[in-house]
C-alpha cells in the first residue's frame, strides 16, 4: 500500500510542475509577441545603418582616401587587445540559449588567446556573468538587469566605454556576441565585429566608379558621430534581438517540459494502476487461501 501512496504523490508533484511550465510557456508567448514586434520594427533600421556604414568603410578601404585617419575604418589584422561583449539572459530555464552564447564567447576567447591577443570580456546578463565568475574568468564589466529590459540610455553608456577605449588605442577590436531571434523556433548566434567597421564582402570593383561624397567641413567629426551612433545602435539592437530570442527559447523549452511532464504522468498512472491491481489480486489470493484452509 505504501507503494501506491508513493506513486500518487509523484503524480501530483509532476502535474504541479506541469502547471508551472505551462504557465511559464504562456507568459513567454505573450512576452515574445511584444519583443518580436519591437525587434522586427528595429531590424530595418539596424540593417540600413550597417549598410550605410559598411559602404563608407569599404569606400575608404578601396579608394584609400587620404586624410581619413579614423581608426574605426582602418582594418587591423594584428590586434593586440580586443573587447568581447556578450549578451545573455538574466534568467535561466530557456534551454541551451545562454550556453550557446557562452560557448561562442569561450571559443572566440581561446582563439585570440592562442594568438597571444589580450582579451577583455564585458558581460551583459546575469547568467553569462555567473558562469564566467564561477569559472574564474575575469570580467571587465558586469551589467545585470539590462538584457531583460533593454534600455537605449544604459546600453549606450555601456557601449561608450568600448568606443572610447577603441579611439584611445587601448583596444584594437570590439566584438559583440549574442543569440538573436530568427523565428519562433530557431535562434541564431551572432558574432559581430563592431569596431573597426567590418567591410564584409563588399566588392571594390563596384565602388571604383563612384566617389565617396561626404558633405561637411570636417569629415572626421561626421564619421565620429556616425560611428558612435552605429555602435550604440548595434548594441541596443543586440539587446532587443536577444530578448526576443530568449522568450522564444524559453517558450520552446517550457513546451518541451510540459510535454515531458505529460508523458511522465501517463506512465506513472499506468504504474499506479498496475500496483493497484496487484494489491487487489494479492488480497483476493489471501482471502481465498484463508477460506480454503478453513475447509
Amino acid at each position: 500500500m505504501a507503494n501506491l501512496k508513493e506513486i500518487q504523490r509523484q503524480i501530483k508533484s509532476v502535474s504541479n510542475t506541469q502547471k508551472t511550465t505551462r504557465a511559464m510557456k504562456l507568459v513567454s508567448t505573450a512576452k515574445l509577441r511584444r519583443a518580436e514586434e519591437l525587434a522586427k520594427r528595429s531590424r530595418l533600421f539596424a540593417q540600413k545603418t550597417n549598410q550605410v556604414i559598411a559602404e563608407i568603410a569599404s569606400r575608404i578601404h578601396c579608394n584609400k582616401i587620404g586624410g581619413i585617419q579614423n581608426r574605426c575604418f582602418v582594418q587591423n589584422d594584428a590586434p593586440e587587445t580586443i573587447d568581447i561583449i556578450f549578451v545573455t539572459a538574466d534568467k535561466g530555464l530557456c534551454g541551451g540559449f545562454n550556453m550557446q552564447t557562452i560557448k561562442a564567447v569561450k571559443r572566440l576567447m581561446s582563439e585570440y588567446k592562442n594568438k597571444n591577443v589580450n582579451v577583455r570580456i564585458r558581460g551583459i546578463g546575469k547568467k553569462g556573468i555567473e558562469f564566467f565568475t564561477f569559472n574564474k574568468v575575469e570580467l571587465l564589466d558586469e551589467v545585470k538587469n539590462l538584457s531583460s529590459a533593454p534600455d537605449m540610455v544604459r546600453s549606450s553608456e555601456f557601449m561608450a566605454r568600448s568606443i572610447r577605449d577603441f579611439n584611445d588605442g587601448i583596444v584594437d577590436a570590439v566584438y559583440l556576441v549574442y543569440n538573436g531571434y530568427k523565428n519562433v523556433i530557431t535562434q541564431e548566434l551572432h558574432i559581430n565585429q563592431i569596431l573597426p567597421v567590418s567591410i564584409g564582402d563588399f566588392d571594390c570593383e563596384s565602388a571604383k566608379n563612384t566617389v565617396l561624397e561626404l558633405e561637411a567641413q570636417d569629415e572626421e567629426k561626421m564619421l565620429d558621430s556616425l560611428v558612435n551612433k552605429y555602435a550604440e545602435y548595434n548594441m541596443y539592437y543586440a539587446l532587443i534581438d536577444s530578448v526576443a530570442a530568449e522568450h522564444s527559447a524559453r517558450m520552446q523549452a517550457m513546451d518541451a517540459a510540459t510535454n515531458n511532464a505529460k508523458q511522465m504522468v501517463k506512465s506513472l498512472t499506468v504504474k499506479y494502476n498496475k500496483a493497484r491491481q496487484e494489491a487487489i489480486t494479492t488480497e483476493l489470493i489471501e482471502i481465498i487461501s484463508g477460506v480454503e484452509s478453513m475447509k
Partner: protein, 131 residues
Amino acid sequence: MHTLNLEVLTPSGSIFNGPVQSVTVPGEEGEFGVLSQHVALTTLLKAGVIDIIQENGKKQSIVVNWGVVQIANNIVTVLVDGAVAIRGDSESDVAKALEEAKALISSVADSSAMIASVSARVESAAHSHLF
C-alpha cells in the same frame, strides 16, 4: 515627372517610404533640397524639419532630432533617431503631432533660438497641412 525614392527610418520603424518629387532636409551645414538625379552624397542632419513633396504634389513634414542621409542612385535614405510626422485626418490629430514634435525638438536642441525657429517651421507646416 522625375521622381526619387525616399525612405525615412527610425529605430522604431519606417515613417515614410515611397516616391517623391523633392525633399528638403536640414543638413549639418545648412538646409538643402534634393531632386531626382541628385549627386551621391552622405551627410549628417541636425534637428529640424524634413519637407517632402510627394508624387501627387501633396506636402508632408517630418520633424527629426538627429540623423544621417545617404543619397545614391535616386534613392534617398534618411536614418533618424527620433521623428514625428506632422499629419493626421483631423485638427486634433495634427495638434497632437505638433505637441510631440515640439517635445522632440526641445529635448535635443541646445539653444532656445533654434527651438523657436524649428517650432515656427513646424507650425507653418501644420497649417499648410490643414488648410
